[in-house]
């Protein structure tokens, strides 16, 4: 085991994938000499050369569109979108091509494309640099969508995503890039939990708290705080946002009877809505209270100085936990 930051774990995962399979390519803006604005591709160009770690011209639609063509030629491109807010110019290529080509060709053409997206807020960034666009991709059939929350998953899941014959949108919480954890660099990705599986990161009996990405840490903190008040929270890290591992989620809700979902993204038609709707459909009779969402507001991502009001935090999560426990309200009265 090696202690690595989440960022370095991603670098290691990319390096391993490039070393294992010479059809793997890394491409994007500034991924070469600079190593990416977050240094995730640091050192890879000098190690693997400029034909495998490719600085591209500044155009996201073309980055994804040429990656599609490379995939058709048998490559496995790993595309870096510089920030979450810059994925939209590539939306057409992702939705109409990446997601549909396997279906369109009845399986003749595979799309083993990984689209890495440094993601979400809490880092005091400028406009368009803190977006949580995951629901757009979750709603798009044909894509797999994952979000990592710790260095080990970052390393393993990135390699699994690259190895997958399906296109994977891979979300990396910027806020956790510098957080550290133990990583087993030698583990076989076939032995690890598969891409589509959620993980119970803390056992609990009273409330199921489902989240992903940087919010996993917030959720764990909330669970610790709640413990002091005698509330036992089970925390689930979704890991895969599409498909959602409903087996793990519903098993938990069946035992707790109470569900809270937390994410930074806007609430309307977000991932939280999906989970609550599906859980309600699948285990209505086990629910003892209305499931609750703790999410960003339905607003454009606000200026940095205001972002802490927008993001779910420990207090807002505990407030929702109180609500789902029918405890009146920790603070204020949310109707």
């Amino acid at each position: 085991m090696t202690e690595l930051t989440l960022a370095k774990a991603l670098t290691a995962g990319l390096g391993q994938a490039l070393a294992d399979d010479d059809r793997v390519l890394v491409m994007g803006e500034d991924v070469g000499a600079l190593g990416g604005v977050f240094r995730i591709t640091d050192g890879l160009q000098s190690r693997f050369g400029a034909t495998r770690v490719v600085d591209t011209p500044l155009a996201e639609s073309a980055i994804v569109g040429t990656a599609v063509g490379l995939a058709m030629r048998g490559f496995r491109p790993v595309v870096e979108i510089q920030f979450d807010g810059f994925v939209y110019p590539a939306f057409d290529q992702i939705v109409c091509q990446v997601a549909k080509l396997h279906y369109r060709t009845r399986g003749a053409v595979k799309m083993p494309l990984t689209i890495r997206i440094p993601w979400a807020g809490g880092v005091g960034a400028a406009e368009h640099h803190s977006e949580s666009p995951e629901a757009y991709f979750v709603h798009t059939a044909g894509l797999r969508v994952v979000a990592v929350s710790n260095p080990q998953d970052a390393y393993t899941m990135l390699r699994q995503a690259i190895a997958s014959d399906d296109p994977v949108v891979f979300f990396e919480p910027k806020r956790l890039y510098h957080s550290k954890g133990e990583v087993d660099l030698d583990a076989d990705i076939a032995d690890a939990a598969p891409l589509g599986v959620a993980r119970v990161v803390r056992r609990g009996t009273d409330v199921t708290l489902v989240t992903y990405g940087a919010q996993v840490q917030v959720a764990l903190d909330a669970a610790t705080a709640a413990e002091d008040e005698g509330v036992s929270i089970e925390v689930i890290d979704l890991r895969s946002l599409s498909p959602v591992d409903y087996r793990t989620v519903t098993a938990s809700v069946r035992s707790t009877g109470r569900l809270v979902v937390a994410h930074e993204a806007a609430r309307e038609a977000g991932v939280g809505a999906e989970i609550i709707a599906s859980v309600t459909e699948q285990c209505f009779e086990y629910l003892e209270a209305a499931p609750q969402r703790v999410t960003g507001f339905d607003i454009p991502y606000p200026p940095a100085k205001l972002e802490r009001h927008h993001l779910p935090d420990l207090d807002r999560i505990l407030d929702a936990v109180d609500r789902v426990l029918g405890r009146g309200h920790r603070a204020g009265v949310t109707s």
Binding site: T66, G69, R73, F75, R106, G142
Partner: protein, 397 residues
Amino acid sequence: MTSTVNPSTADPTTANTSPANASPANAEARPDPHAPAAGDLAQLLSPDGERGAHPLLDDWAGDIDDTRLAGLYRDMLLVRRIDAAGVALQRQGQLGLWAPAEGQEAVQIGITRACHDDDFFFTSYRELGVLVARGARPADLVLGWRGEVFGTFDPYDLHVATPQIIIGAQTLHAVGYAMGVQRDGGDQVAVACFGDGATSQGDVSEAMVFAASFGAPVVFVCSNNQWAISEPVGLQSHLPLAGRAPGFGIPSVRVDGNDVIACTAAMRWALDHARSGRGPAYIEAVTYRLGPHTTSDDPTRYRSADEVALWRTRDPLLRVAGVLRERGLLEAAEAEAEQAAAEFTAGMRRAALEATTRPPLAVLDDVYAEPHTGIDRQREQFSAYLEGFADDEEGTR
């Protein structure tokens, strides 16, 4: 560098005027000294059947003798017949839609015949001739337009990607494929086919940026058929479209798209350029869509019968037929084409009549390459739902 305003001319082969566009802001053409001269249209066979010369293309047409010309004619006529059969099948309700290629046979056959078999095409919905010349089977031309499936053939068999509907999107795929060829050390060329309207899409410009930046072996073929549905090419650009590529660092040629010899030669030049490591090349083939945009379109709403009549005189088949008739080769070529067409179109009819729609559960096939719990759940639920009907109604559904 300052602009000089030239009077616009009426002949759409020489300038992109906007006859149908009433907006005064669009009315005035703004040619520029940096763009290729408007009249600079490469031609090797005139509408009158005269064999001409061209400094760039001559080198690439020397071997196109009468026999070869007869072969190209055969192909073009075959495509025309297949196209007519497609329209007929649509009118008879066998197909949901058809996008006629009539008038564009020369560019489609010329560029395909110039290629190696493993050069890879990325086309729009209108490149019927490319599919035919690449050996598509009758069913391939029927099942997609009928709405049975999207992908009718394995792209790796024909070396043709499934025809693209999103305007311009395929140009990026072609560039990416060509970047892959570079990395493989292969000698294939990727060919990106698109229309005049497509040149306005950001994707097409981005494709030129990437192709030039990486020196990728890709040939851009713009079939300027004068119209993007109801919009005349002059609305997309006042200047010849071939003039855009050089600014991106891509050499281009503007060719008479109804001259199959010139199209073949231009494509050979472009392929050689790309294949020999000199990077992308660009062809604007000036042609005309003689039919409607698709069988759903009513072109009388936006263009005159006179215009269509003028272009009928430039029919790509006519001029070759003239030459072949003179040489006494026409009859044989026609007979051969009609024979092939009869077989092929009979096959199309059969493919339509015998088409069986896949069972309901097929909608859930091939969404993913690997197992997927979401799809599995929906398949389970849907199949249970369907079985309920089977129980109730003895499988009438």
